[in-house]
Symmetry: D2
Subunit: 229 residues, 4 copies
């Protein structure tokens, strides 16, 4: 499934509201909104639900985590090859709730890239964003952890973090797309993010826990679309 920018990437985390068939439903809502608006929307379901979702929607599906180990005697690991076989298009790496060792981030990006799996590496600061840019992932997502789930959008509360990240990442590698996350919930937040140079957003509770998930997502997508005009 090809990924286009600007991108909305919805992390389902392990919320009860996005588990099992409720996750598939949410993925289908994302698919509909994507079709309606023309904006690329990707979803990152529970790991156990990747095969429930990926073969059944026409939008990119991401893993929430991936391990760099090759196929083999690695009980419990999430091998990039497994993702590939399940029709997964991308992987979130080093999420603030799943921080990784530096060397494993490098290996995970390399192995995913070699298999054609898109990578979105998370970073908590502009300097960390620049650091992971060294490995040439397709995306770097900057998320100040203190704003995650806070309802305070990073694009408004810390514009300098977003802008600084874009600048530092692009200086290492012009081709990397910068997303931002943490506290993003409305179209307004998204517009602010795009104005700061990002090409998308990574969000979770803002959609997963919204009362009107379709409405909330449509609001984001329209803001992104109109921003692009």
């Amino acid at each position: 499934m090809s990924i286009r920018f600007p991108l909305i990437l919805i992390n389902f985390k392990t919320y009860i509201e996005s588990m099992g068939n409720r996750g598939l439903e949410l993925a289908r809502i994302a698919e509909e909104v994507s079709e309606e608006t023309g904006v690329c929307i990707a979803v990152a379901p529970h790991t156990v639900d990747l095969f429930r979702v990926a073969p059944n929607v026409g939008i990119p599906v991401f893993a929430q985590h991936v391990d760099p180990d090759p196929p083999g005697a690695y009980t419990g690991a999430i091998a990039p090859e497994s993702l590939k076989e399940a029709g997964v298009s991308g992987a979130i790496i080093n999420h603030s709730e799943r921080r990784m060792r530096l060397d494993l981030i490098e290996d995970a990006v390399k192995r995913c890239s070699s298999l054609g799996i898109s990578t979105c590496v998370c970073a908590n600061t502009p300097l960390a964003g620049r650091a992971v840019a060294s490995f040439a992932p397709e995306m770097v997502a900057v998320e100040p952890p203190e704003l995650i789930g806070s309802g305070i959008p990073v694009s408004k509360a810390k514009p300098e973090v977003v802008e600084g990240s874009v600048e530092l990442v692009k200086r290492v590698n012009e081709g990397i797309r910068v997303l931002c996350g943490a506290g993003i919930a409305s179209g307004e937040d998204v517009s602010a993010a795009v104005k700061l140079g990002t090409e998308g957003v990574l969000l979770a509770s803002g959609i997963v826990k919204a009362k009107d998930r379709r409405g909330a997502l449509l609001d984001l997508a329209l803001a992104l679309r109109d921003q692009g005009r």
Copy 2:
């Protein structure tokens, strides 16, 4: 899916031979052999394949790993609730390739038990087997790591480890089933294991990488069945 003893539990690890549809195929072979012989055979597919396998076979399916975190903001975690929703019956915990902190083992067993997910906690020594017995998992699987994948069956090379484990575990909790693993490949190895007091085996490469997987599994199952007579 109800689990019966003696049990053969096949860990697919992340072998390429057990990935994706090859994993589903192997699970179906296990199902057939189970039906033919009446011996309970369970499979532990790649995490990403749990939903590919569990709804499609009539034998118990296990996760290779589970996290104790509750549903919520735990990106990348394998929540017991996710397993439940995917139709998974049990979980391997603390495998030698995925060792866990003691406190997390306790929490993982508790949370799985409260959801009706069966637990098989691995231990590398009889003393570690007794330690995890404290948390009352349904099964304790003793596997000396140096024999895993070695082709040397623990039931023959270290009978005292198997016997000692059975004795120590049962003294803590009579109701816990003891499995053994590491190097198990033939019916003869299984017979030896049962004679030492175990109620099943945990194995991986012996089946996953066998040339004739059906034949190898049938050999194990028949040995287990005849042992029980």
Copy 3:
């Protein structure tokens, strides 16, 4: 330095008040109180201060953590042999702020024991206490994490946790001493702990951050001594 029971074990953590020479001073206060009261008091200084403290006091000194790796190419590890050479008598293992993998707990206890280093393994629940008792450490310290640093003494708030731990640990191995910790600050808390069957206490902020550290420690020691009569 020989350890006697009942025991007061003071964990200096990495508090600023117990760092460097302030840690040595606190260790000397402990030594004086121990001499005055005849009660055994041990201290666990900052790792970096072990050699500052151990050769300069006549009371047992503990490490706050130890790794099971043998001497060799293990950069940054705390080898039991290093402790031995520095005159350290014991080691805290698996503290709630430094949880360890089950297999490493077993290895760490074994390696320390073989070198004559006393071990105090922490556990957050009675079942975890029983689990680690399997490895025959000299002491098991039960500390419900939610009470650590709370000022609410476990011996009063959760007497059933303390009593249950003593019973379960002793059933595995009569010879293991059970300590309790979390929220212990006064002589009264210590008396309550001893009445529940423990042979000592593990505490930190209650002494390290006390305004009158000598007075606070004397209060504890006298309570322990009088309890024993």
Copy 4:
């Protein structure tokens, strides 16, 4: 203790040959050779021996590992403040035998820098070297793990790794010094390293396990000195 370049940094690891007083002796040999040759030599003793060594030698002393946690309730952590109080000048961070999470590397560098503790962050590849350069440590040490302890010097076996690292690191931050390590044992290896643009070497077994440690170190120091002319 001020650090000058080119630098020889000797990692004592947890080798038995560099433990306790043997470590202090080795540090004194390093001090003598440093005085004789004018070349800056630093040592990284066992963590437990930092206070045994640092106050007793006139050369820079490094920790083998440091944690980013602030002073407080962090049992077992190695706080930068503890290092400072013990007279330690610098810290190795993210050694291949002690890999760290990316976010903790950033925090550890920041906290050390703010306290005037010099930092040497290890990296296994040129890209990882560039990544950690983002945090502006004083030094980046590139060490291909497969050559560590191999006796095959990185400066000869993989000159492109050394040269590539220097180039990438300097492009991020001109002021960072690049060291190389892995397999370095002779003056010739050191000369090769300096010719490739490094300003020093990080080594361990080549000195610690040398039969004639003084001689081996003198050989290295003279090569570095003569290289500088």
